[in-house]
Symmetry: C2
Subunit: 242 residues, 2 copies
Amino acid sequence: MHGLPEVRPRDDLVGLLAAALATAGERLRDDDVLIVAQKVVSKSEGRVVHLPDVVPGPRALEMARESGKDPRQLEVVLSETKEIVRWERGVLISETRHGFVCANAGVDRSNAGAPDTVVLLPVDPDASAARIRGEIADRMGATVAVVITDTFGRAWREGHTNVAIGIAGLPALKRYIGQRDPEGYELRVTEIAVADEIAGAAELVMGKLDRCPVAIVRGLALEDSDETAREYVRPAARDLFR
Amino acid sequence: MHGLPEVRPRDDLVGLLAAALATAGERLRDDDVLIVAQKVVSKSEGRVVHLPDVVPGPRALEMARESGKDPRQLEVVLSETKEIVRWERGVLISETRHGFVCANAGVDRSNAGAPDTVVLLPVDPDASAARIRGEIADRMGATVAVVITDTFGRAWREGHTNVAIGIAGLPALKRYIGQRDPEGYELRVTEIAVADEIAGAAELVMGKLDRCPVAIVRGLALEDSDETAREYVRPAARDLFR
């Protein structure tokens, strides 16, 4: 969906969305899935940092010397990092405070909306999704599911995909545990990451440069669910690739 | 799309697809993306192994002792494996002969269509996709793109998603390299794995137990491309997570 203006801190994101929908002659329906790019959610929540305000610490300065990167941005990344998973060849893979493993703890300078500014992930993306869902129900009268997405790289595989970092009103995982195929053989793949697949599907129409931070997926018969995107966090002890 | 019968070795997959489409009153159009589950492609190509015919070697027998797994199935997995990436706690992550990193080299016993049978990945999934695309053009008069999908796990993240293992007629990666946001800042994420996102989107309607091995994605304005799914293979030397 196009028509959203540049989002600024403390903007009323659901109000902007309602206005854009009205202009487009579209309205949300019950059981729609609303996909919202992390960046507009973060901006509306004030999760932006003006780099001239940042004083890099010794670790950020050392990493800047090793890599040629901006030490102020590295300082912000480190402040969002629970654990550094890899720091090699100028690539920083972090575990974020939420438990997600991604480049630069999700801190990003592109499409920040202002010079010398970086955007951080929401503090609690599931709470953000639940809040958006609640406001849409209250103000627009529609019971939708919400998926907040970011673009993550993968191990072993080139290219990035959109994944779900916060969800409300739909399951994270579709479970086939214990289910059997027509021959009676138990299924090998037992959990499908449906919200991640929805996030990726939405990216196909959202793009990166199109100022299209919102998409609607309609017609999926998903059950309601209290699950959060934390379902995707694999505990480090069970992770063979740390 | 439903209505495909159980696929057997040497079955005419495109013929079965044409019949199912006709029954459903549907037809393929130019620029459709046809998503086909790996399993029906593999079966039609005879990539099935009857386990009683397999004699496990010493490595498979040793791994079976360690894990309680079927040594015959492990023998087949090893025969499809270029390199073992992890073998821990009964989980085998392989690099396949194609260069994909996935569990059990893509060898799977579920939905095999017969008892004591495993299904292997196609020898060359890109060639399979190109062949299906060519046959559809010849026999059905439509210029479609084709994505052959399998369900892979991910590092760090719970749940599996569908990914593209063979493609024809669409790009693997959408490239933003050198493109700049409205502030003039170069984009951080430069390559989006569009065929993987299409594979994941299709999984949402295909499921695992619904005997629905084919889906159509319509309305995406994708450019034609000669790229293959090998674009996704990250060279081991550039991979921080081997």
